[in-house]
């Protein structure tokens, strides 16, 4: 089931290819900027890198169109940028600013915008699969020609939520593409300790859905494979899997020293299989762009990030009282508790029974 699926994909134009390059570069440079801010302790919480995975994030997201919705993971900064998330949003979010997309409520890139077409993830792995099954179920119920895409890592495929969600989507023929990013590790756990399956695409057979494995460090191959699955879903043929082979070059998060990684493994990938270098080579070889033109893109990216950083730094921290706003539609906000300034002092403010303090409880029945 894991041979390349049929369904020809129109080749990308030069402009589109340059767009892909732009998104990949923006992803990498933005993360590098975040590393600086992290070292300056301006980032609140951990920092998660997608270094070496930019192609799988950007190429897969690029296969979607306006109106489609994707559910990113922690390493899908690139996918979110493609879907319209802006560098300043990302920076404010990581810096926990009051005017960040979640107003300081959620971490790193945990935010979404269904208008632009990406949805806010939560930490418990696998949960977004059933959620996206439901998002795409609504597309099907309303006969909209929209498609959903959900990312899961090699590790997340071991969760019950992944299993129940993908099986439900398969049976319901939801227009959902499940992208499994096989980057070799789940935190410190190699994929070989996650499953005995020879490839994660094999899981498709157990769900009775098509699956394809593609080179996740080849942005064009990633785009083509995902596009085939997206078209298929849009044609009403239901759910399918795309497994993208890639490699997590940094630790799980900035603090992780990767002691568990075999000597030289990361360097080899950096040297021989960097998705951006590979794409540069291809763009220049195939006459899409000169190195000078690409350098211009890189320069543009830096200016954009500088500008976004300046903006982000200007914003203030969240107003404490905003923490109580919007748990429910109704009531719009919770009250501060009684032991806080402005809080209701239940006991104190509650008037007392007449004769209080003078009457004899035991006598009264």
């Amino acid at each position: 089931m894991a041979r390349p699926r049929t369904g020809s994909v129109a080749p990308l134009t030069r402009e589109q290819r340059l767009e892909l390059y732009y998104w990949m570069r923006l992803t990498r440079s933005l993360e590098e900027r975040l590393v600086n801010l992290y070292r300056q302790t301006k980032v609140v919480g951990g920092l998660f890198r997608s270094l070496g995975q930019e192609a799988d994030a950007v190429g897969s997201a690029y296969a979607l169109q306006q109106g489609d919705i994707l559910s990113p993971l922690i390493r899908n900064l690139g996918s979110m940028l493609v879907k319209g998330a802006t560098p300043v949003e990302i920076l404010k979010q990581y810096m926990a600013k009051g005017d960040s997309p979640t107003r300081g409520r959620e971490l790193n890139i945990h935010f979404g915008d269904t208008e632009r077409g990406f949805i806010g993830q939560i930490s418990p792995l696998g949960d977004m699969v059933p959620v996206m099954a439901g998002v795409t179920l609504s597309f099907k119920m309303r006969k909209e020609a929209r498609v959903g895409l959900v990312y899961v890592g090699d590790g997340a495929t071991s969760t019950g939520a992944f299993h129940e969600g993908i099986n439900f989507a398969a049976v319901q023929k939801c227009p959902l593409v499940v992208v499994i990013e096989n980057n070799g590790y789940a935190y410190s756990t190699p994929t070989s300790k996650q499953t005995l399956a020879k490839q994660l695409a094999d899981k498709g057979i157990g769900y009775g859905i098509p699956a394809e494995t593609a080179d996740g460090n080849d942005v064009i191959a990633t785009y083509d494979a995902t596009k085939r699955a997206v078209d298929r879903a849009r044609r009403g043929e239901g759910t399918s899997i795309v497994e993208l082979m890639t490699y997590r070059r940094k630790g799980h998060a900035e603090h992780d020293n990767q002691s568990y990684v075999p000597e030289g493994e990361g360097d080899r990938w950096a040297r021989e299989n960097d998705p951006i270098n590979r794409f540069i080579l291809r763009l220049t070889n195939e006459g899409n762009a000169t190195l000078r033109e690409l350098a211009a893109v890189d320069a543009r990216v830096v200016t954009e990030i500088d500008h976004a950083t300046d903006l982000a730094e200007l914003s203030g921290v969240p107003e404490p009282l905003d923490a109580l706003v919007g748990i429910y539609a109704e009531p719009p906000a919770e009250q501060p508790l009684w032991f806080r300034e402005g809080g209701r002092a239940a006991v104190e403010e509650n008037e007392r029974p007449e004769g209080w303090g003078s009457y004899d409880i035991s006598g009264d029945v």
Partner: protein
Amino acid sequence: MAEITYLEAIREALFEEMERDPNVFMIGEDIGAYGGAFKVTEGLLAKYGESRVIDSPISEIGIVGAAAGAAHMGMRPVVEMQFIDFIANAYDILTNYVATARYRAFLPCPMVVRGPSGGYVRGGPFHSQNPEAGFIHTPGLKVVYPSTAADAKGLMKAAIRDDDCVLFFEHKYLYRRIKGEMPAGDHIVPIGKARTSREGSDLSVITYAATVYKALEAAEQLEREDGLSVEVIDLRSLAPLDDEAIVATVKKTNRVLVLHEDTRTGGIAGEITARINETCFEWLDAPVLRVTAHDVPLPYAPSLEDFVLPQTPDVVRALRRLAAY
């Protein structure tokens, strides 16, 4: 107007809401062709078809998650747990994903999770549970648990129209035992408002669901035998709680019993007692007492189940102690 059962009242609400709003749909195990383990959804498939009455695989995480995703897109899913006990399988996605969606991501999540709950039916440890305590603890969720047919209908319609996730617990002991007339028209019971099931002036029982009837039986006995006037408050909504109604009855009788079918430790009676203590300590002429199930999994043999669960004589004994205090 003819009386209908608690179960029929819920079904009527589902039909009316499906009819009123095309975004409302049902999802669950065996709810379509079979009409659900208790036949609550019977007839919906025939009328509204497979796309709005979905028979799902055995996947509580899957269907709760799918409901949430559809709800984000403007649908109004009603999820059936074949038995509410299996809501435990969806605990993560309900408490971590659904409950936080609006707060952390500004994603509306209007959905109802409903199912047959409670004991007194020889259902054993996995078909008799009252899981409210695990959920009233989660900000972002609402929880209702009606005791009358009219409230069952009115709260179901309110739950489906609510813009947040409402857990709707249906007491299976009451399904066919309790009947009532349905108020005419578009009958809605607001979430968060308790109901005075019986007016009284000497003692109060604060309870909900099946034990409302234990309280009423005890109240009648005390009136007959002791000439005591017992007020019975049916909370109906467990999250949010109706603090006004709770405070009002405490100030009226000054002697309060909290009664529930759920196990004792960590049950909702603790929360209610703490609130009474904070808001009207001086009004108490006696400690707030709790009558609850014993702290064990619910056994299925009648002699054991009857012993573990609270019974009317327990309520009578407890109220007499309160009165004599």
